[in-house]
Symmetry: C2
């Protein structure tokens, strides 16, 4: 019997594409991670990337986890924190295991407020914590000091509750129109979120105005307006949560070779694939074409985690780079290169997004749904717009990350194996009924 695996993959990928493009992410709440994230406990710390055991976390990501234990009051000092982590009195888990998505190290503790984004089409929910602000030193970049601590506390005590109260007034925010509109205003919604931030602020302004009529909240509202004005990256967390909800909706289509997750931890770049269950295919870090700030060089860079590339997974970021020429100011390059990078992504994706349109391509839909088979065939790998962390903590640059082919080849091979095993049963992991 000849197995038409190609045909079943095409159908499965169309289903994954349908899910990716029909997802309707809605911002429904902002609440403490401990209250809403499934499986989150008071002693859990979430961090970016395919899961690792605690002892395997190194460098800035390890430092960020330890700092999180201090921030959350789970340990008295660094030594105590490490000891508690060693004996699993404090648990480290991957964001990915809890429907969360991490920017750089992506640190979550139970008290941190998270954006709650539900995909109204498919019913799944994703979470992303809040942006710490434009300071180069942030916990998610592996830095921790009194300023970082106070910033996190402000998110917890002021920004989180304010956003939650504003959302109670506005009702749930349908995010897809906001995302689509931001693309028309020069964002690509990974490394450029200026328009998204402006649109979000506008959307919430009247509600903030309402909250601020309470004398006790007035100064908080002013602080929030100031935060919006000073932090063009604010919207990234919304974009990430929306993308995570969308990618999760497309995960688990038997036979599909569409990538539904890309994630970095301190040891590896990894992807997961719709038809391959919970397996993370792990490989080498991307190569880097970056622009370093203030005299830093590539030698100063360190991989400390990162999952904001979930945006690329759903047709944003590098896959909508041509929307955002201004991004060159941040990460270098030329607009022709950006256009070329963006165009190349059509060769490795299964479709074009009906709502995420690229004005500079005469409103062609963004390429969406990375197909590991197409990556293997063409040798073209996904591009990611990203921020760069330094060895000493903090952000030291930004640039285009070019993923390497190894993980895509491994995933393709795995998927072919699954398909050969189960021609008529497309459930990944169905290891029976050989042909």
């Amino acid at each position: 019997m000849i197995v038409d695996t190609q045909h079943s993959t095409v159908e499965a990928n169309q289903e994954a594409l349908r899910r990716l493009t029909s997802a309707r992410p809605v911002l429904v709440d902002v609440a403490a991670a401990g209250e809403v994230v499934p499986g989150m406990t008071p002693r859990t710390i979430l961090t970016s990337g395919a899961p690792l055991a605690w002892p395997d976390y190194t460098g800035g990501q390890r430092r960020a986890i330890v700092s999180a234990a201090l921030y959350e009051g789970l340990a008295s000092d660094v030594q105590d924190a490490k000891a508690r982590l060693d004996r699993e009195d404090i648990t480290v888990r991957s964001t990915q295991e809890h429907g969360c998505i991490g920017s750089v190290a992506g640190i979550y503790t139970a008290s941190m407020p998270v954006l709650v984004v539900r995909d109204e089409e498919h019913g799944n929910t994703a979470y992303c914590n809040l942006y710490e602000g434009k300071s180069r030193y942030r916990l998610n970049y592996g830095a921790y000091n009194e300023e970082v601590r106070q910033g996190l506390r402000w998110l917890q005590e002021v920004q989180g509750p304010l956003l939650a109260d504003a959302l109670k007034i506005t009702g749930p925010l349908d995010l897809k129109p906001l995302l689509a509109r931001a693309l028309r205003l020069g964002d690509e919604l990974h490394s450029r979120n200026t328009a998204g931030t402006l649109l979000l602020q506008r959307t919430l302004t009247e509600a903030l105005f309402d909250v601020g009529r309470d004398e006790a909240r007035e100064s908080e509202v002013r602080q929030m307006l100031e935060f919006f004005s000073s932090n063009d990256y604010t919207f990234l967390r919304v974009s990430m949560a929306a993308a995570k909800a969308t990618a999760d909706a497309a995960h688990g289509v038997a036979g599909s070779s569409v990538v539904t997750g890309m994630a970095i931890n301190c040891r590896e770049f990894a992807i997961r694939v719709s038809g391959c269950g919970d397996t993370w295919f792990r490989g080498a870090f991307p190569t880097l074409e970056g622009r370093f700030f203030d005299g830093f060089t590539e030698a100063d860079a360190e991989w400390i985690g990162g999952e904001s590339c979930v945006t690329e997974t759903v047709g944003l970021g590098g896959f909508a780079q041509a929307c955002a020429p201004t991004l060159m100011d941040y990460q270098g390059g030329s607009y022709q290169t950006m256009r070329d990078n963006n165009l190349a992504m059509y060769d490795i994706t299964v479709g074009e997004h009906p709502d995420f349109l690229i004005p500079a391509f005469d409103f062609r839909g963004a390429p969406v749904g990375i197909d590991v088979f197409k990556v293997v065939e063409t040798g073209i790998t996904p591009v990611i717009d990203g921020g760069l962390a330094g060895r000493e903590g903090g952000q030291i640059g930004a640039g285009v990350l070019r993923t390497r082919p190894d993980v895509f080849a491994e995933a393709a091979s795995h998927l072919r194996h699954l398909q050969a095993l189960s021609p008529s049963d497309h459930t990944p992991g169905g290891h029976h009924d050989h042909v």
Copy 2:
């Protein structure tokens, strides 16, 4: 004696360019035209375009002037208004004669609020009245009915005073950084002003919040927030006032062949030139590559005035078209054509703007300072992004207007004549001392 006119023109144009690019337009106030516009009287109506005598105004522009008389309470009905205009009991003047700038018909009466923009570098002041909102029917598009009247009244009673009060709190707004930033966010600041509107709203939000703490003003502030959210064109009037202040600063440089005004009335397209004094060179209307709304055709279009092309005069609009691919959605075309149009403008301008940068051209400065000699030499004429008015009033489309060469040729010829007359005296109009 051989007169080196070329040399003196180059120097004069460098001075005009310096003025165009060093102008620092600042929004200082919003006040009734009758209170701040020089020469404005309670019985004056200002309208767009090179000056005409009242009997020469026809069609929609004439209708708009008559409607303005009714709006201002200067006449009891249309017949009375016409009679009073005929006997100059009501005076019609060109906006240009009063430091004002008109969108489409550009109608000003004494009670209408105007944005007051001062060029802090050169000390001159320009004025632009307020955007009526997105309804297709607006006085400046030659439409007048109860809805239009109420909209104008709201501008006068609510928006104008609110903006004035907000500006008292914020202090004068430096507009050049706002304009430059909007270009990075996908505006070209003539036919696309979405980013500018977002940025202006953000800039005023906290001040509006302050004003709204007064119970009596609360609902007005909510109306204003709603107006911002519903009207992406709001910022155009700011952009026009800034451009007018800038163009005026560059006017009057003896020997300069740089265009300092482009204006349309119901009879002609006209330009003025820095070195040619108050002369308007009048010629044929631009040709039109437009997109018509809802079944309208070119046959339905009517020229009823327009001076928003002052933005093109200072390096915005069609001269920064490549910033705004999303504009295609409004006025048709392809992005390649927009880029080509924009690039061609470098061939007819005297410099590149140091602050108005075009991200899609790798941050090349926008072409600025239209040189009538270069237009004549190359045969390339300025492109203008514009809205299109219908014969029955209202906006019926949008598109790229391509100016015709006649007025540029006439201006060039006039300037050569002046230069030949006054090789060592660059004051236009110095008709003495033949060589």
